[in-house]
Subunit: 173 residues, 2 copies
Amino acid sequence: MSLINFISTLQLQEITYPAKTTLLLEGNKAKFFYFVKEGCLRMWLNNDGKDITTQFFFEGSAIASLASFLKDEPSDYSIETIEPCSLFVMTKQDFIILKKTNPAFKIWLDELILERFYYYSKHLVSYLRTKPQQRYLDLLQKHPEILQRIPQHYIASYLGITAVSLSRIRSRK
Amino acid sequence: MSLINFISTLQLQEITYPAKTTLLLEGNKAKFFYFVKEGCLRMWLNNDGKDITTQFFFEGSAIASLASFLKDEPSDYSIETIEPCSLFVMTKQDFIILKKTNPAFKIWLDELILERFYYYSKHLVSYLRTKPQQRYLDLLQKHPEILQRIPQHYIASYLGITAVSLSRIRSRK
DNA sequence: CTTATTTCTTAACAATTGTTATCTTACCAC
DNA sequence: GTGGTAAGATAACAATTGTTAAGAAATAAG
């Protein structure tokens, strides 16, 4: 069952947030699990005052600080809307109940963790395998929507470089 | 229950391998799940003839190409002993049966996937957060055993740099 | 012990990125 | 519209890394 179909069976509350709204701040425990109906968001963390974006989320994806949510620990990451967003919101209580009582949800959750695991694995390998310039070109080819919808300095930190360096790479091409 | 205690209840076959033995070659499907009794191993992948080490494994840890094992797909990684190793070996058949019939094993496996997920997440963030020199110093502080037991060129590729650059970083300190 | 292989270091140069700063452009709020 | 903020481009210089090569040191094999 697709995520969207599954979500629709849960009758979750839908909430709209303006752009640049923080949904979870680094250091706090995650209380909500979100599903993106419309808009895009980013997960990021603070590093000596500079923020580093670790992941982007678009329509159709689930977003939460999984580690914080599953272990009930303070989150290493913040979650913030980039564009105005329309999200389905699941409370932690609902999440815990669903996980225990709904086998389909448990299967879906296990799959999500595994997928996120693959995602990090692939992303990590791209760092070991390629240089920033190649990572940019790969991103351009595989996810052009990111380049079009997301401000460049977020993309730069996602690629592991400065905004200045990304601008240079773009002009070199 | 600790991994070691749990393993001992399974009565797995113990096999000894010499150093530099390949247990799984990139492109093949993982058929075995290993538990390290003695020695150390590495997971690596080929990149245009150069090999990139992605993870080290020591006594007490479980090692397998999880993605390949769980999805029955060709592995993106190779697994190789670094030192002579004494390993407990679980066949895929045993694995599948245990996963279905032994709740404790399923719980342990879910935990392993989650831990591996955390590991990749942390490792990835260290790439976004720090430069090679700092990553080396962090590794030196957190896992000095790696620096002592593992050849430097493996560590270099694990840190995302060349062996030459690692040697330079070490001499700078 | 001797030889061969592997591992590690060092050097020189090219290429890339980081840093700082300035400037232009785009966008939002009033 | 106007002012203010954010985003992006560019330049100059410093610092780091990659590449190639050569040699020393350590390890393994016979």
